[in-house]
């Protein structure tokens, strides 16, 4: 260790050592100060002590001008241990051939581009990293590199990334190094593993070291490496291990030791089991998210069809209105896309709910007790709503933006990742379900709704305005359809045919779950989604959907009242 290196090194908190000297005692800092004081005493005339870190940094850079390639490598190594904030960009520029000396004043600059054919280069000051005007190419000399120096530079930059305070930067650096692992980077990783605290980064480094250990060493170290790798889940690790025990065409093995081979085979089995488990979890999650969509599109119908017995074929178009409301809300607040969804949910509830109340008051109330006629009339309404949307918004699909917080993935482990929009749809469905249950079970409106659906005449005798309750119930179911439309706007195209695509599914969910039973709708929709996703790998998406539909048709023949049939007086009057 040279005195210079020590003196150049500021403390981790960024304060220069010289200034902090003597102010604290004990611990690591105290030890450093002792050493410093010792050197300060030994070398009182050393000018470096008086220099600021910037000046020292510039001085080190200046040495690059006339140094030989081995000297340059030494300077780079020294710089890389300096904690000056500009070191990393400067070294990166050096690696990319963007480091220049200005001939007129022998100052070092970074260029924004390494392209020598430009008539003028935009320069950056190496210390402040601010723009430093432009320079003519003939006034600038590039500080050259060769292969050996570039390797040193890469390692130095990787070390920087490895010691970054941001653990995700460290993780990326390890992954980058593992792509082409060599001796210097291995040395760097070994050095790092001792001080690494983040478990994810530590595991990544261990994987890298273990993978490297498979290539050489004694059988014992290879066995240890395999034991460490057996806990990893990644496909590259599995394939790397599989190479060890799979015979090549001429019958020889990549791994000579049979014990290591059998350990590798066992490790691959462990990994495969874990991967199968997580892919099962993933399928289940996909199924639940598809099921959530089904529940969401069906739950409004569970109110209007299930509780009121109204066949509303315009249900899909009420969802479409909700989706278009999202679009309009985004048009109205283009600067706040992030918040637009939160505004769109109540807006869509209102738009679709009001449309539902109008529909109920003007058409459906004349048709109570005539379900087939209701079906036809509401189908007519659905056609008119589709055409209305075509006339207002054109027949083309409208693009609804996805807020940034809804995109992206949640990496659970190496195998299992969950996209946020799928996760949110599950959460959203559960929220809608819970709120709906609370409304039905805990509010005055819910009490009225249940009373009217169970015994209309008695409810009227008790003073409940059954007509008003009908309108409100229908409005509630329609509003929920609008809310479902907001969710659909994030999943599919928003166009005039959006509703049609879901109408059959939503009726099937309600009938399957058992009419008049919200829990049945939830369980029915979720199980339909899961079964669909379970079948998909074997049958393909379309055939899986057909199989589910046919299975449902057959199921309804066996149990015409669905999974959870309504019992008691209400069931008889509903039929």
């Amino acid at each position: 260790m040279t005195p210079v290196r020590l003196l150049d090194r500021p403390r981790p908190d960024g304060r220069a050592l010289g200034r902090g000297a003597g102010t604290t005692a004990g611990g690591r800092g105290g030890r450093w100060q002792l050493v410093l004081l010792l050197f300060a005493a030994l070398l009182p005339a050393r000018p470096g002590l008086a220099q600021s870190p910037d000046q020292q940094f510039l001085a080190a850079l200046g040495e690059l001008r006339e140094a030989s390639f081995p000297d340059k490598a030494a300077i780079v190594d020294r710089l890389s241990r300096d904690n000056h904030p500009s070191v990393r960009p400067v070294l990166t520029a050096f690696l990319e051939d963007r480091l220049y000396t200005r001939l007129s004043d022998q100052k070092i600059f970074l260029a924004k581009s390494g392209d020598d054919t430009l008539t003028s280069l935009e320069l950056i000051d190496p210390v402040t990293l601010q723009d430093a005007g432009a320079g003519a190419p003939n006034d600038l000399t590039k500080i050259s590199t060769n292969n050996g120096l570039r390797r040193v530079l890469r390692t130095a930059i990787a070390r920087f990334a490895l010691s970054s305070p941001d653990s995700s930067v460290r993780l990326d650096a390890v992954k980058e190094m593992m792509r082409a692992i060599d001796e210097p980077s291995l040395a760097l990783l070994r050095e790092r593993i001792g001080v690494e605290t983040d478990p994810a980064v530590k595991a990544e480094i261990e994987t890298g070291l273990a993978l490297a250990a498979l290539d050489g060493g004694d059988p014992q170290s290879r066995l240890e490496a395999i034991a460490a790798l057996a806990h990893r889940r990644r496909a590259e690790v599995r394939n790397r291990l599989a190479v060890l025990f799979e015979p090549s065409p001429d019958g020889s093995f990549a791994e000579s030791d049979p014990a290591v081979r059998s350990a590798a085979a066992a490790a691959v089995r462990t990994i495969d089991q874990a991967r199968a488990f997580y892919s099962g979890v993933e399928t289940l999650f996909f199924g639940l998210s598809l099921g959530s969509v089904l529940v969401l599109v069906a739950i409004g119908l569970a109110i209007t069809f299930g509780v009121m017995g109204v066949i509303n074929m315009a249900h899909g178009e009420l969802m479409m209105l909700g989706a278009y409301t999202t679009y309009v809300v985004q048009l109205a607040m283009p600067k706040h896309i992030e918040a637009s969804i939160l505004v769109a949910i109540p807006a869509a509830f209102l738009v679709a709910g009001v449309a539902g109340v109008i529909l109920e008051r003007t058409i459906i109330r004349f048709l109570y007790g005539r379900p087939l006629e209701t079906l036809l009339a509401t189908f007519g309404v659905s056609l008119m709503l589709q055409q209305l949307v075509r006339s207002v918004f054109s027949a083309n699909n409208r693009s609804v933006e996805t807020p940034a917080w809804m995109s992206g993935t949640l990496q659970v482990n190496e195998v299992l990742s969950i996209t946020f929009n799928r996760l949110y749809i599950v959460v959203f469905t559960v929220m809608v379900f819970v709120i709906l249950q609370l409304v039905l079970k805990r509010t005055r409106l819910g009490l009225d709704i249940r009373a009217v659906s169970q015994n209309r005449a008695m409810a009227r005798a008790m003073g409940i305005r059954s007509e008003w309750v009908d309108a409100m119930t229908f409005g509630l179911g329609s509003g929920i359809a609008g809310v479902a439309g907001v969710a659909l706007s994030q999943l599919t195209n928003v166009g005039p045919n959006l509703g049609q695509a879901y109408i059959i599914d939503s009726f099937m969910v309600v009938v399957f779950g058992g009419v008049g039973n919200l829990w049945g709708t939830l369980i029915g929709g979720m199980s339909m989604g899961v079964v669909n996703k379970l079948l998909e790998p074997y049958a393909g998406a379309v055939l899986a959907k057909i199989l589910v539909l046919v299975a449902l048709i057959l199921f309804i023949q066996r149990r015409p009242r669905g999974l959870f049939p309504q019992t008691g007086r209400a069931a008889e009057s509903a039929s």
Partner: protein, 366 residues
């Protein structure tokens, strides 16, 4: 109409049917004459376009009668009858595809073009026999009938009724549509069948063949009407009406409700299938969109518009709505869905017995 006539007689089953059959006969005689015998320069000449359009309408009327038979008389609202129509059409389409022979783009003597395109080397088993017209004819009736039998047997036995049955039929049709959209089903995927050349050796593009097809359709329509009329005026027909009005009571009286419903459902499916089979050579194409649930629902509105439970009313509704559709989609394409939607709403809310009901009511009032 004359008020001197006894009340109800003019629009009694017999008379309405007679008028309908008379009009049908007039079409079957006049159209060939006007198209073939009248020279093209004469204003009375019937163009190929109108000829094809009339043929199409006749097929739709047959489909409407099939739906009215079960909805108007047995109270079974099928929202999947277009599926039977399309299955019949696919049966005819398969025969016509086999007739193309070496005249296809790829010139394969056995395989239709789309199979060559998919690199299939031999005909799937379910295509065998479709080179014979009699076999294809049998299948056009048998396939819809078997589907209706299996579905109806399952549904009526477990007493799936009313709205539930409607939704099930709709799901069935939807599932079939998805299935026929798949290329590996062996039915041409979403392109379906088209580019037909000839039927029984007659060129499908010639007016003469078209006239013959129209007359055949008119005869089939008349025969279907008579067959349905026979059923509904028989004793079984009265049982069906009893089921429509009070299913449980009919069952308690000792009638096997499910058998009556099943057989009338199967017969209706066969009529729909034959209508589809006659439709395909006249329009020259069949593809999976014929299975679309909206098509089935449109048929129901034809019947509701004309007046259900009259048979001829259904036929009248079919031609009225389709004429309006042809006219409006040409003249005011924006307005068509508004009109169709409004028709659904107005007819169900204000005209529960359709236009025929309106006329009967007027006749009664006088």
């Amino acid at each position: 109409m004359s008020s001197s006539q006894p009340r109800g007689l003019l629009w009694s089953d017999d008379r309405g049917g007679t008028v309908f059959l008379g009009l049908l006969a007039a079409v079957a005689i006049l159209v060939p004459l006007l198209n073939q015998a009248v020279p093209a320069s004469s204003p009375l000449h019937l163009s190929t376009y109108v000829l094809t359009l009339l043929g199409k309408y006749l097929c739709y009327m047959m489909l409407a009668i099939a739906v009215d038979l079960i909805w108007g008389y047995a109270g079974i609202l099928s929202l999947g009858h277009a599926a039977f129509f399309a299955l019949g059409g696919y049966g005819m389409g398969m025969y016509l595809m086999r007739q193309i022979g070496t005249r296809g783009v790829y010139g394969d003597p056995v395989l239709p073009d789309f199979m060559v395109f998919l690199n299939w080397t031999k005909l799937p088993w379910f295509w065998l026999g479709f080179n014979h017209f009699w076999f294809a004819l049998l299948m056009m009736a048998l396939v819809p009938a078997s589907l209706a039998f299996v579905f109806g047997w399952l549904a009526f036995r477990s007493r799936v009724t009313g709205v539930y049955l409607s939704i099930m039929t709709q799901a069935l049709s939807y599932a079939l549509m998805l299935a026929f959209f798949r290329n590996d089903m062996g039915f041409g995927g979403n392109n379906g069948f088209t580019d037909f050349k000839e039927l029984l050796g007659f060129d499908l593009q010639s007016d003469r063949t078209r006239v013959v097809l129209l007359v055949a359709t008119a005869i089939a329509l008349g025969a279907s009407y008579r067959a349905c009329r026979l059923i509904v005026s028989s004793r079984a027909g009265r049982v069906l009406r009893a089921i429509r009005d009070a299913e449980s009571r009919t069952r308690f009286l000792g009638y096997r409700v499910e058998s009556y419903k099943l057989w009338v459902f199967v017969i209706s499916a066969v009529i729909a299938g034959v209508a589809g089979a006659l439709y395909v050579p006249q329009v020259g194409i069949i593809n999976p969109s014929e299975f679309a649930p909206i098509n089935s629902i449109e048929v129901v509105i034809w019947v509701a518009m004309g007046g259900r439970g009259t048979l001829y009313g259904a036929a009248a509704g079919a031609i009225l709505v389709n004429y309006a559709k042809t006219y409006l989609t040409g003249a005011l394409p924006e307005a068509w869905l508004y009109v169709l939607g409004a028709m659904f709403v107005l007819v169900t809310v204000f005209l529960p017995r359709g236009l025929m009901g309106l006329m009967t009511a007027e006749a009664r009032a006088k």
